[in-house]
Symmetry: C2
Subunit: 99 residues, 2 copies
Amino acid sequence: MNPQPIVLINSFEVPRRRGRSLPRRLGASRAFLSTQDGYLSTRLHRSFSPSADFRFVNVAYCESAQAFQAATARPEFTNAHIPVPFHASLYEVVRDNEL
Amino acid sequence: MNPQPIVLINSFEVPRRRGRSLPRRLGASRAFLSTQDGYLSTRLHRSFSPSADFRFVNVAYCESAQAFQAATARPEFTNAHIPVPFHASLYEVVRDNEL
């Protein structure tokens, strides 16, 4: 395993009274990704405030950008339509402070 | 320790050719937070793409929302001016899938 995993952070804009299906749809995407090479984990966050700019934020770890791009280019992934606007990018961890 | 920590996710909009001072400013905030009750850890992410909607995303863990709110209300924290627009909210983890 790469000692420095790649992180996909995906922030979802969810208007009030929408987004009920989002965790289920994201669960389907995660189930697919978990079968792909290089997938490590995902963590789905829900805001305490219903009026947060991003009601849900998904953080997924993968061994490499190449593995992630290969997995997310497959039709099983791209066909999992997400019904709200979202902002997704690949990140590296530049500072990690555990106490 | 609370078995389910609270997560502060803070996404920073950083225009090209700006934000050079952001990691240093966030480091100063983190150094302060690390002295406060209930602080657990922070992880700073930088996008691979300079044109990502959010060039930096900070993810911080804390034992409780109360501890976080108390720490972030202190002047040492609120005076650490951040020079770019950002989106911050408190989250709970609603799904955690480790392989």
